[in-house]
Point group: C2
């Protein structure tokens, strides 16, 4: 698993550090032991490409769900896969091996799990670096790895001294810490010779020590660190002291300042106060800037491998990207289609909805300029939502603060936010929709747009309709939710169809795009809808793009449509080609709110090249349609040759 | 000027590099020689804190106006000052010394000016590093400085070999380059021993050589570099060869790849192709990422000096910031008020308006979410504008691309954009207004807000009114522009007062904040305005916040009002306290367009603490008012004790 010499397993991290020499902080992931979040929910087992063993971060500000870099359209069942090759069978749970230890530390079980690494990790793995998740690297991690070379033949654990007086036992009256050598050691950064620990009977060793100490002490105060120190006190020959700069500890009463005199001395900063970034420290601004530098750094800039791994051919998409012709007028479209975005599924804690046979998830996508829609949407849709957000790394941090500051949003655990990191010149609208769609966990999905607010009753009404229509048995149905729009800034949202019709008659509401593009929703037949008491079937027609409720396994959106235009229309064509029945619901409605045009759309609306490129995309789309559906696809040819509406969005 | 040993003058740059080990690119500035932009406009002489001599960058994408770090409210006359201490008298112009040299290189005169450094720089300055502005540092600049130590007793110029075959003279038939030693040297990075060059008679030496070569060659092709090479060919003892990694040249047919094998080898990347970032190169993605890393880096993170300069006390504001109590409920307000923002005045090329006695500049401020207002504003206001933009470093790049992509914006040279870099939790609305106001260059200013569109005729009408009213003699006048609003998304803007009144009667338009806060504009007396044929005087009343046209030297906005609330009201109070006459113009109007609430406002609107802190600010404001205006300030006390309107923005 780990080659000898310069550890290739460190490649990714080392590259990052070599190239940019930026600090970095590790989040999430574990080593195959099933992980549970404090709330009791099972997390996704991650896969770490090297000897990194992060602890579940103890502070809400630092905690994140696991990140996924790869196919943005991966299904919900796929989202734990990684690029580490074939997955071994799941190993046994590690918790029971440490859960018997009474522990007062805020890290809970997770810190203690470091103790079982020698037995939990594969027998052929000889050395690992173990890191807490609250550390920030200010240097090349390979320098740390190189310190293994200083171990004597019997040393097995490399540690930095604890930078506080805790283990001296004189902090307060009756302060009784666990035994330690002098100030003891901090276990936020550990070099572990697993082979030697196994040989030395580590498994027995720490258990014996822990049991014996727990006869006179009620619990560990500092989790694994207390036990490591007690073992080392008995077996001092095991430990190799590491230079203090490899674990500069920012605890509340730290002595760390003795350790560094220049910024360049710092190698690893350890935020080991429970206050994390809010800790008081003479140099905290400096340390915080280090951390923020990484947090807000455009992660796309880290994706190029160049000098370190010359033997590995780039993946297919990258190769295709490199072969694009920059002079092609549609270059930006091609480039955007081929871009594989970094995707962070369930960016914030999320409670999956309980399995219910007729449940519906609202699916939508947005960028920063529509963030203010989220609160209203939460008020209108009390059910589960799966939202893809197209953000820069820095915007993702702003989004986090926005949710934290909003009681409405913070209260909702059934809204899953998936961050797709911005890369490339065009808005990848259908890729975003596919990310949100793939992460929906209910049997049905309502495919909406972020600037629409559904009727307050829509969530309940849709579930009742799905049940009444017995859609479970006739799956190929798309329920149409008629769309309206208001042009008014201040607007009193109708509480019923009756109220809606009154507003429509008063000219306060219109059917959606009534003025510029009535064809987009004409087949919905608003006149019939006014009178309808029961769902009615409608036929597809050119340019139809209704908002629909469909089974979760519906066709995906065509990711070739980037920017603006034809993205929804193509999806409805595909539904029709696959013989989905279109049923308009008589009591359902959703209303588009006015907003300033997005920057993305204004950039391209006026471009003649844009129209030409869009037509090229439509031609390719039709070729694929013909390939899949044969002569039946002929039906769509006239629609695909019609010009695009002048003001789409 | 430069101390011996480790050059302290490099402190800032070295700190930057030591701490972050990030690449960096230098923009703008020169050494006291008056600089003119290619368009013939005089640039602002900068002040560089060290031996850095950038060349005016030749590429539009890279070129910026000089950055200013300091008091955001500094007047237009002040904006060239810096923190380098007392300014010496302006030195003589350098251009005449090199303008006689015929030159075909795209850098124009500016490259050639490197030749006069030994005479132009102070006689006590012995060594400098000379850098082109199109270089990116990937390492600590002090390592480069250290290479002076390798100079022999007679060497005076440190250079990297030219990484192309240009000087070999075999690129095409009849290619006749200037003479050079072998491949010659590249002058993008130079270590200069000024003392030795002066002693060796450099001034004579390069002139003689240049004159002689120009007898047989028509012009320099590569500017200063041709002349340096010709001199070195005659006096090879002058040159110290530097390792090639200190000037990795990305010209179109570069041989630079021979120079590096690992990313960590790279020290300085030189974008010396006229294509700059668009150059074709096997590793260009890697190099571009280096550049973008710096460009989009949050510059605020570079502002903390910590380890390198421990002896210097922090400036007043920083000290006050450090002394703030984080537990104070109004901490964020205090913090925001004390924050000294980085400000980049005239971020984009700007043509100052010709001096006209009645001219008016529109003054406003905005953040990213109002960028789409700019085009409409340009269509409504054909005169000069001074706009402050509150952006992150990354957003400033997006803004640049936005302007480049907009024919409407790109065509306007009379709009000055001033970037104030985001820092802190609250929107510093009045600090932004003061930045824009301070940079207005006409005798009058129209103090507007970004979500208002003025009447198409307003610019002409205001100038005519100022002239007719003879305001030159009675300066303490504020001309009120009555404000209206539409709640409609799509809206046909009235072309006259008659059309406006019709829309008002039809209920399509309202007087501004008619529904929520009529007091803000009540004194304007809209009923009288309907009928008015001539300007009429109105009296100040509590909460009055009209949009006004005032002389440029009007009172500044009170920067203590950060976030939302009381920021304009306080300014009108100050105008009234200073006995400005309020005159409503009968044909003037401006209309507020609907927009989604900004993120900033929604964050604070619901907070009870916010109201308490705002009241505290108002109390302090009144104390200052009493201090300046004595008993006359009593008039404003009741207004200051009224509660804030519920929905301000």
């Amino acid at each position: 698993m780990l080659p000898r010499g310069r550890p290739r397993a460190l490649g990714a991290a080392a590259l990052l550090l070599l190239l940019l020499l930026l600090g970095f902080l590790l989040f999430g992931g574990d080593l195959g032991c099933e992980r549970r979040e404090p709330g009791g929910r099972a997390g996704a087992p991650g896969c770490f490409p090297g000897p990194l063993m992060p602890r579940v971060p103890p502070d809400g500000r630092l905690r994140r769900a696991a990140a996924l870099d790869g196919d943005p359209g991966a299904g919900p069942g796929d989202h734990n896969r990684s690029d580490c090759g074939p997955q071994p069978p799941p190993p046994p749970k590690c918790e029971p091996q440490v859960s018997w230890i009474p522990n007062k530390h805020y890290s809970g079980l997770y810190g203690l799990m470091k103790l079982v690494l020698p037995s939990a990790l594969p027998a052929e793995l000889a050395r690992v670096i173990v890191l807490d998740t609250d550390v920030t690297f200010a240097s090349d991690i390979s320098e740390l790895w190189a310190l293994f070379a200083h171990f004597s033949d019997t040393q097995a654990i490399g540690l930095v001294e604890n930078q506080s007086d805790w283990y001296l036992g004189n902090l307060w009256k009756n302060h009784r810490p666990w035994p330690a050598l002098g100030r003891g050691f901090n276990t936020g950064v550990i070099l572990l010779r697993l082979d030697r620990l196994r040989q030395a009977g580590w498994e027995q060793m720490w258990r014996l020590t822990a049991r014996r100490e727990l006869l006179s002490l009620p619990a560990t105060s500092l989790a694994d660190q207390d036990i490591f120190n007690a073992v080392i006190k008995e077996h001092p020959g095991l430990v190799q002291r590491l230079p203090c700069v490899w674990n500069v500890q920012l605890s509340d009463h730290t002595l760390a300042e003795r350790c560094y005199s220049e910024a360049s001395d710092l190698k690893v900063i350890h935020w080991n106060s429970p206050k994390k970034l809010r800790v008081k420290n003479k140099h905290v601004e400096f340390f915080r800037n280090f951390y923020l530098t990484f947090l807000e750094y455009d992660g796309n800039l880290l994706r190029r491998e160049l000098f370190v791994c010359p033997s590995q051919p780039p993946p297919g998409a990258e190769q295709a990207l490199a072969q694009l012709d920059e002079e092609d007028p549609c270059f930006e479209f091609r480039q955007q289609q081929l871009t594989v975005h970094r995707v962070h599924v369930t960016f914030l804690p999320h409670e999956p909805p309980p399995p219910r046979p007729h449940d519906v998830t609202l699916v939508a996508q947005l960028s920063m300029d529509r963030l203010q829609m989220l609160e209203a949407l939460c008020r209108h849709w009390p059910g589960p939502m799966s939202l893809a957000l197209y953000l820069t790394d820095a915007e993702a941090q702003q989004f986090l603060h926005f949710v934290e500051a909003s009681p409405v949003l913070a209260a909702r655990q059934d809204v899953a936010y998936h961050v797709v990191y911005r890369e490339g010149p065009l808005y990848p609208v259908n890729q975003l929709r596919n990310v949100a769609l793939a992460q929906a966990l209910t049997p049905y999905v309502f495919l909406s747009d972020i600037d629409f607010l559904p009727a307050y009753s829509l969530y309940d009404y849709l579930r009742a309709s799905i049940e009444q229509l017995g859609l479970g048995s006739r799956r190929k149905a798309a329920l149409v939710v008629p769309a309206f729009e208001t042009l008014r800034y201040r607007f009193s949202f109708p509480h019923s169809k009756v109220e809606l019709l009154a507003l429509l008659d008063a000219g306060t509401l219109y059917t959606f795009r009534y003025h510029e593009w009535p064809r987009g929703h004409a087949p919905t037949d608003y006149a019939r809808w006014r009178e309808a008491q029961a769902p009615y079937r409608v036929q597809w027609a050119a340019n139809y793009e209704p908002y629909v409720v469909v089974p979760r396994d519906c066709p995906r959106y065509d990711p070739r449509f980037v920017g603006f235009g034809w993205n929804k229309v193509a999806h409805i064509v595909e539904l029709d080609a696959q013989e989905y029945e279109l049923l308009v619901l008589p009591e359902a409605f959703t209303i588009h709110l006015p907003h300033a045009p997005s920057l993305d759309i204004s950039r391209f609306r006026s471009s003649p090249t844009y129209r030409d490129c869009l037509q090229a995309l439509k031609d390719e789309f039709h070729q694929d349609l013909s390939r899949h559906h044969g002569a039946a696809a002929l039906k769509y040819l006239p629609a695909l040759q019609q010009p695009q509406s002048p003001a789409r969005g």
